[in-house]
């Protein structure tokens, strides 16, 4: 790490080690109470991708794109409301606003990655915030997934308006979340910690008609 980073910025590992058991915002209702199990009638499946690494990148697109490219091998999405991913689809970057992107990586990678990005960015004008503890990611999959979304958000989720590779921050059941479509069949919902429980229960309620099943 360059001297400048070491001098001016204090970074710390927020991912708990093995001695502390990590808990996602949905730990109680999702993991410990009676979530509906998938069955043959299920037309939509819900699954949590708990404890991933979430970093917020802020700064100029060109500078950040260069740094991200050099560290991760893929760049920022080129357009507003777009998502870019690495080849395996495990790491993704989403446009949130003209100077803000959400980078999601497998849990545990985020701290090392933050350091590498800081090193690559040197004394550029930027900010990186580790928000891994502040939000969680849900996946919705199945033929009725789009119908469930249509009941919950005013945003148009028709494939003509919401192709694969798009992602938006929008209203969802009177709260808000980040909604994205990484593949043809899968939708991802990034929930803020304080909304997570409410939205999770909303989704189960909205999904009841499609015999929603929770995959643990």
């Amino acid at each position: 790490m360059s001297n400048l980073v070491a001098q001016n910025i204090r970074t710390f590992e927020t991912h708990p080690g093995v001695e502390i058991s990590a808990e996602s915002p949905l730990v109680f209702f999702h993991q410990r109470s009676g979530a509906p199990a998938p069955c043959t009638e299920s037309r939509v499946a819900l699954r949590e991708r708990a404890l991933l690494g979430h970093l917020i990148l802020r700064g100029g697109a060109i500078v950040l794109d260069e740094a991200v490219h050099s560290v991760l091998g893929f760049g920022l999405p080129a357009y507003p409301n777009a998502l870019s991913r690495d080849e395996g689809g495990e790491r993704s970057i989403q446009w949130l606003s003209p100077d803000e992107w959400l980078l999601i990586v497998p849990g545990g990678e985020e701290f090392g990655l933050e350091g590498k990005l800081r090193e690559a960015l040197g004394d550029a004008h930027y900010a990186i915030v580790n928000v891994s503890g502040g939000q969680t990611l849900l996946e919705l999959e199945g033929e009725a997934a789009r119908e469930l979304l249509m009941k919950s958000t005013p945003y148009d989720v028709h494939p003509d308006n919401f192709p694969v590779g798009k992602g938006v921050t929008t209203v969802f059941a009177k709260a808000n979340l980040i909604l994205r479509r990484p593949t043809e069949t899968r939708w991802e919902l990034v929930l803020r910690r304080s909304f997570a429980d409410y939205l999770y229960r909303w989704i189960l309620d909205a999904g009841e008609a499609y015999a929603i099943g929770v995959e643990v």
Binding site: P80, P154, V171
Partner: protein, 119 residues
């Protein structure tokens, strides 16, 4: 419901995602301490209330969270255009049909912006 074009997200979004923040283009006096009470009071408290074209500041609160401006007609509620901070409006009280010089070059763009009105 308005369907508002966010100039940063570059697409129309539901009104639910936005908040109005009052009149746009209010310049803070450069030297507040040199203002009379009346000048300072005007800056702080007094706002236009026109019948017709009005420039407003809005924020895309659930979305990109950027501030931008809307030119709106207070009688019809029609949104004539939305534009980024730092840009100037095309539709003004003097040019209610849009300023001529720009209209020629950017008519197509202006049209797409006008489609922001789907009240």
């Amino acid at each position: 419901m308005f369907h508002i074009y966010c100039p940063y997200c570059e697409e129309h979004r539901e009104e639910e995602e936005f908040h109005p923040k009052g009149q746009a283009h209010i310049a803070r006096p450069e030297e507040p301490e040199a203002c009379s009470d009346e000048e300072w009071g005007d800056y702080l408290f007094f706002r236009d209330n026109p019948r017709g074209i009005h420039h407003e500041l809005w924020v895309h609160a659930v979305g990109c969270r950027k501030f931008f401006n809307i030119t709106r007609h207070t009688v019809s509620y029609a949104i004539l255009e939305t534009y980024k901070m730092g840009e100037l409006p095309r539709f003004t009280a003097e040019f209610p049909e849009g300023s001529l010089s720009e209209k020629v070059t950017t008519e197509a763009e202006a049209m797409s912006r006008q489609e922001g009105v789907k009240a």
